[in-house]
């Protein structure tokens, strides 16, 4: 099994075509859409968590490439600057995936990067601006 987060760039000509569903139908892959939008220039961008058998994963990715979809690994990552974080916890109810939780004993905020979907809500609202986006 393999699970990876990837960024798909759809060129203008592909924006109106169904493509991602084939990953399920033909290659037996699971996907979770973390982010998707079409820019004003009509380039489509989608961030996916894609998982399945290694062989299927590689074939699925190859299929996307053959259609003209540009693929990047998800390098954009939300990171906590430990020196800046005051462990207040105001980010906790804002986080949609419970990647940020308060430890009931220490009352410190725990950040589970694996659960983070890089929505960046915490980046905006963190009072000391301790949540940073790294590319």
């Amino acid at each position: 099994m393999v699970a990876k987060r990837i960024v798909l760039h759809f060129p203008h000509r592909l924006v109106d075509q169904p493509i991602v569903y084939k990953l399920v139908k033909e290659f037996d892959l699971q996907f979770n859409i973390l982010k998707a939008f079409v820019t004003p220039q009509e380039e489509g961008l989608m961030v996916l968590e894609l998982s399945g058998k290694r062989e299927n994963f590689d074939q699925g990715v190859e299929y996307l490439r053959s259609c003209g979809v540009r693929i990047q690994p998800l390098a954009q990552d939300v990171v906590r600057n430990e020196a800046k974080c005051t462990n207040c916890g105001v980010c906790v109810p804002i986080c949609p995936t419970q990647a940020l939780v308060v430890d009931p004993v220490t009352r410190k905020v725990l950040f589970n990067n694996k659960k983070c979907i890089a929505c960046e809500l915490c980046v905006k609202i963190c009072p000391p601006r301790a949540m940073e986006v790294h590319f």
Binding site: T86, N87, C88, G89, V90, C91, V92, P93, I94, V102, P104, T106, R107, K108, K124, I125, P127, P128, R129
Partner: protein, 404 residues
């Protein structure tokens, strides 16, 4: 019965018994208030939250030839400072913002840099850019000044916060159908989240609800250094509704505090951006409570589940000063991560760091135990519940009085 003088003698002899405002809870539960009052000499409190009415004044030293910044203009890293004093005295408020910061112009605005950040940079030892302009007079001929300044070179640098350490605070929610950006953080529509801002059972004025030991002149932990309570804070409101334990059920008393900025530390004075609202300073404060008698220790042992805060709608009720609290919840419920408001389970977030408040209470405890910090007698009392001192709304009057 003990006196502060006796406690100080114990501190000097290295025999003092100090516990934090958390530890005293268990102690009183186990041994009772009478035994605890005999055994414990000092209870240390702590709080670490955003406190907007904060700022610092500086005397930057005279230039050659002299300039009278007083009455002129002055900015520090583009953030305007107040100049309405003598020649080279200025005051920088925590919430001051650069004029025309483009980052703040697109709603809701980022508010990434302001007075609080300048204060933190100065405390961190960074050089800060000062630009000033003046009229130029016979005795102060210079009209312009552009220079780097550094905290260590200033004559005086004094943190002087006119309202800190609120005794209790609102829990903010949003009843409207759109996201709002407030000084209590981002509030999601339809009771999406509830933000509170207090250290609860560690917070100084919640542990001495009638200001029996905390008063004007009390020596405190301030921003990682030593400070003093200078006065009651602005909006001090001792006459608010109190619960059976005497603890205010709504925001009550406040403190004005003062201390030498040069001995403070950047980790305890943190410049903060409230998205869509503005800039503020997170201030670390710890107040020692001398255990003079059974009553003091009983008050100091109040715990989260006995301290209640009002849940207030910040979409309509707060801005328009209308309506009443939607619910009352205690800090144990708030700390559990969810509260119930109007039948809905609402996730909670704290703007005030409990873990840092705990660190402050521990730090102050260690200072006292080591003999580095002796207690002071208050020189005057803070206005109490019986004083008649109260907080009023502004009664607006037309600029031109109507003729009779």
């Amino acid at each position: 019965m003990k006196t502060i003088k006796e406690i100080n003698e114990k501190i000097k002899r290295g025999e003092v018994v100090v516990v934090t405002a958390e530890e005293v809870i268990e102690l009183v539960e186990k041994k009772g208030a009478k035994r605890a009052a005999q055994e414990v000499d000092v209870v240390t409190t702590g709080t670490f939250g955003p406190m907007c009415s904060s700022g610092a004044y500086f005397n930057i030293g005279h230039t050659r030839p002299r300039i009278k910044i007083g009455g002129g203009t002055c900015t520090l890293n583009d953030v305007p400072a107040y100049t309405g004093f003598a020649a080279v005295d200025i005051y920088l408020g925590a919430t001051a913002l650069p004029d025309d910061d483009p980052r703040n112009k697109v709603y809701p605005g980022e508010f990434k840099y302001g007075g609080a950040h300048v204060i933190q940079e100065l405390v961190n030892g960074n050089d800060v850019r000062l630009e000033a302009s003046a009229y130029g007079t016979d005795c102060y001929p210079r009209k312009k000044l552009e220079t780097l300044i550094n905290l260590k070179d200033l004559n005086e640098a004094v943190l002087f916060n006119i309202r800190n350490a609120y005794q209790n605070y609102n829990v903010a929610v949003n009843l409207s159908d759109k996201t709002i950006y407030t000084y209590m953080g981002m509030l999601k529509p339809g009771l999406g989240n509830a933000n509170y801002c207090s250290a609860g059972q560690l917070s100084p004025l919640l542990k001495d609800p009638f200001y029996r030991t905390i008063g004007i002149g009390t020596k405190i932990f301030l921003g990682g250094g030593i400070g003093y309570i200078a006065w009651q804070g602005t909006q001090h409101n001792p006459q608010v509704l109190r619960g059976d334990s005497g603890i205010p059920l709504v925001p009550g008393g406040t403190l004005a505090v003062i201390g030498d900025l040069k001995q403070m530390k950047p980790e305890w004075l943190v410049g903060t951006s409230m998205f869509g609202y503005g800039v503020t300073l997170i201030v670390g404060i710890g107040v020692p409570i001398p255990v003079l008698n059974e009553e003091t220790v009983q008050y100091a042992a109040a715990k989260d589940k006995d301290i209640y805060a009002p849940v207030v709608d910040y979409a309509q009720n707060y801005p328009h000063c209308s309506g009443s609290a939607l619910a009352e919840v205690n800090y144990a419920q708030l700390k559990s991560g969810k509260i119930n408001v109007q039948g809905k389970e609402v996730p909670t977030g704290n703007l005030s760091s409990y873990s840092k408040a705990r660190e402050i209470s521990e730090e102050l405890k260690s200072w006292i135990k080591k003999g580095d910090f002796v207690l002071t007698e208050p020189v005057a009392k803070l206005p109490g519940a019986e004083s008649g001192y109260t907080f009023k709304m502004l009664k607006e009057r037309p600029l031109i009085e109507k003729e009779a």
